[in-house]
């Protein structure tokens, strides 16, 4: 045919180019996975590993030759405390809780951290601990002859069940976890009903007029506003503007003797609620929109009013999806840091939060503060706190999936 010669045979080079780029696309995917995987791996890497512990006071000098500190009973521990603890610390600890009321485990902690004072001389990551054990041992015997090499899980029971203290070895995440849970409860309490109600209005009632269109566009725009701006809003409105209410002074609540101001769990929770409201509304709208019109019509056809239709038919039918969307939004709120720093999270809390008018810190705040400290121990405890945070988020999601499935089953058989 005449036209055939007009075309150059270029197939081999075209296929070669295709193969090259295919490789490029695969590599970028691989790279993305490696990056994101490294993010998670780093956390694990830092949350476990060898540490070299050096005691300030030799444990053996405290106990008789044939015994160990761990095996002493309460009485013996008391004796060590009476003998070695400085009077000032003695009084301070006694004031917190009398020694007579303390358990043996409690007393052991006091002896360990007030008298023996173990110090972390060196830390290693998990990978170092796994793959370079021998050189770690050599290094330790050289550099810290009186040190003890132990494998430490920075996430441990003590870490989970202890309140905030100033020292990385003794501190725990309990204060932050309580703060996170209280804050998020306020967030849920406020944002779920308001968000779902707004979604119902927009999907079921709102006519196609200027006002409603504006509300809708406005919600989309709010969803893209940086979270720190919500922090500024919370600071101006909740912390300062509504201080009388958010500090609890209007309700006669005393914030445990501290100066009442608006930097409370309530303000933090409300700020996060405003922050995730647009996302909750958008997700709930999608869930409601997915309900077929036939369901509404059949309900209206048996004489139900519009509200009865929504309450008894539309909402139950869409609730599983509404819930999933809302929980996704909440797990974003749990990880939010910047707006809470702005709203005024406390840098150090001597007391766990007790209610909505308490001063607050949350897990991400705690992580932020620990991460900004240069010492290696703080790096490891922030990794441990990240593990706790991710676990909290994961269990929240698991709970949502579980509830959704149960609701679905009910819907099928109920």
């Amino acid at each position: 045919m005449s036209g055939r010669e007009d075309f150059a045979v270029n197939l081999a080079s075209r296929h070669a180019r295709g193969d090259r780029w295919r490789l490029m696309f695969m590599l970028s995917t691989l790279l993305a996975i490696v990056f994101l995987g490294a993010l998670i791996l780093t956390i694990v890497d830092d949350a476990f590993g060898y540490v070299v512990m050096v005691d300030e006071v030799d444990q053996r000098s405290l106990v008789p030759d044939d015994e160990r500190l761990e095996s002493l009973d309460a009485e013996a521990l008391r004796a060590v405390i009476d003998e070695r603890l400085s009077p000032r610390r003695y009084r301070a600890i006694e004031r917190e809780r009398p020694f007579d009321e303390r358990t043996a485990a409690d007393l052991y902690d006091i002896v360990l951290y007030e008298i023996v004072k173990p110090r972390v001389a060196e830390t290693y990551t998990l990978f170092e601990s796994l793959f370079a054990r021998r050189s770690i041992v050599e290094e330790t015997t050289l550099a810290h002859p009186d040190g003890e090499l132990v494998f430490r899980s920075w996430v441990n029971m003590r870490f989970l069940s202890t309140s905030q203290t100033a020292r990385p070895l003794t501190t725990g995440v309990l204060t932050a976890v309580k703060g996170s849970i209280l804050t998020i409860s306020i967030t849920i309490l406020f944002s779920f009903p308001v968000g779902i109600a707004a979604a119902i209005w927009l999907e079921e009632y709102a006519g196609d007029n200027r006002l409603n269109r504006f509300i809708q566009v406005n919600i989309y725009n709010l969803a893209g506003v940086p979270s720190i701006i919500y922090g500024m809003l919370g600071l101006a409105i909740f912390v300062r503007g509504l201080e009388r209410f958010t500090s609890g002074s209007a309700f006669g609540a005393s914030t445990s003797g501290e100066v009442a101001n608006g930097r409370t769990i309530l303000s933090a929770g409300l700020t996060l609620a405003i922050l995730i409201l647009p996302v909750i509304i958008i997700n709930a709208q999608e869930a409601i929109r997915a309900i077929p019109g036939s369901l509404r019509q059949s309900s209206l056809a048996v004489g139900a009013t519009k509200w009865q239709t929504i309450w008894h038919q539309v909402l139950p039918a869409s609730f599983d999806r509404i819930l999933t969307g809302a929980v996704l939004a909440v797990s974003r709120a749990i990880g939010e840091t910047a707006p809470l720093v702005v709203v005024g999270a406390s840098t150090f809390l001597t007391q766990d939060p007790t209610g909505v008018f308490s001063k607050f810190t949350t897990l991400p705040i705690q992580i932020y503060q620990w991460t900004s400290r240069p010492q290696a121990e703080f790096r490891h405890i922030s990794a441990a706190a990240i593990v706790v945070l991710l676990a909290l988020m994961l269990s929240l999601n698991a709970f949502a999936i579980f509830t959704r499935n149960r609701l679905r089953r009910q819907k099928r058989f109920g």
Binding site: F25, L39, N212, S227, I281, G335, T371
Partner: protein, 313 residues
């Protein structure tokens, strides 16, 4: 004789049916409540505008607007409020982020949409989406403890500071990568099958189809993803707060420390700050700039998305 039947519906008892419009008071209340909840979003926007506007205008009484937008030094202690160093650092970190996320995100999207088998796609997409939900403070941790030391090993300890915009920007790129790849993948998958078939039927290879037909056809969706990613990068806080450095610094060197707009807000408001001081007000002025910038980006992104929906639907 009357039939022995009790009236069970109110209408029966009344003995007459009425079709007139009935006023149901509790439904009216519910309706009002629902509307109020929807209107909370308007109150939020109003709140943001009023709060940011009022505090910044209080600042602008002392500092001229011109000084604010064109000043090259931000030193509240000596009354210098030039936002350029902060804006510059924000642009530098965002640029670095986009340089990572843009090519990589598009590459991932093309791979997932055009090359990957269904099984690979169905596994990778949710993983990417879950990873997109990792809190940004974790990314900040990653930047500070992994990326910065790695960069310092690469460039030498002297030439790169402990806090630097490069490390923050790179990790920010990793942060927005899942967002960009996921949105781009959606855009590519939304290109109708018929277009793909048309290209193949003309003897195009897979690469030629993907790059010269599908990507251009999905261009607006891809552009929208990039713009949204940029807006996320501009507003991102924790990574820069941890890794980019504390202290405004007007520099184009990504190996040096420089504080971004968001980083500055967090650092100052995290400390002890007295209300009604110039410091305090200047934070709101920065936030106003941030708000307007991200709002503009988001609106552009949304209008682009809307346009490309119209083409195929």
């Amino acid at each position: 004789m009357k039939p022995v039947q009790t009236a069970r519906y109110p209408e029966e008892a009344r003995g007459a049916l009425s079709f007139g419009k009935r006023f149901r008071p509790h439904e009216a209340v519910i309706l009002a409540l629902l509307f109020f909840c929807a209107a909370v979003s308007i109150l939020t926007t109003l709140g943001i505008i009023v709060v940011l506007g009022a505090e910044s205008s209080a600042l602008f009484k002392e500092v001229s607007l011109w000084e604010f937008v064109s000043g090259t030094s931000w030193q509240p202690t000596i009354g210098e409020f030039g936002i350029l160093p902060l804006v510059n650092a924000t642009l530098m970190t965002s640029l670095a982020a986009m340089l990572v996320a843009l090519p990589l995100g598009l590459g991932v999207a093309i791979y997932l949409a055009e090359y990957a088998s269904e099984r690979v796609r169905e596994t990778l997409k949710p993983i990417l989406e879950v990873l997109a939900g990792v809190p940004t403070v974790v990314h900040g941790y990653f930047a500070l403890t992994v990326v910065t030391p790695a960069l310092r090993g690469l460039f030498g300890q002297e030439s790169i500071e402990v806090y630097n915009t490069l490390s923050a920007g790179l990790v920010m790129g990793i942060l927005i990568l899942p967002l960009i790849s996921s949105m781009c993948e959606d855009a590519l998958s939304a290109v109708p099958r018929s277009l793909r078939e048309a290209a193949y039927a003309m003897g195009a290879t897979k690469l030629e189809t993907s790059v010269t037909i599908i990507v251009p056809a999905a261009f607006s969706g891809i552009a929208a993803a990039f713009i949204l990613g940029l807006s996320r990068a501009v507003g991102e806080t924790m990574i820069v707060a941890l890794a980019a450095g504390a202290g405004p610094n007007l520099t184009l060197n990504p190996l040096k420390a420089a504080e971004t707009m968001t980083g500055h807000i967090v650092r100052i408001s995290g400390g002890d700050i007295s209300y009604d001081s110039m410091d305090y007000r200047s934070l709101f002025a920065i936030a106003l700039v941030l708000f307007l910038a991200t709002l503009a980006l988001n609106m552009v992104s949304r209008s682009i998305v809307k346009k490309y929906r119209e083409v195929y639907e």
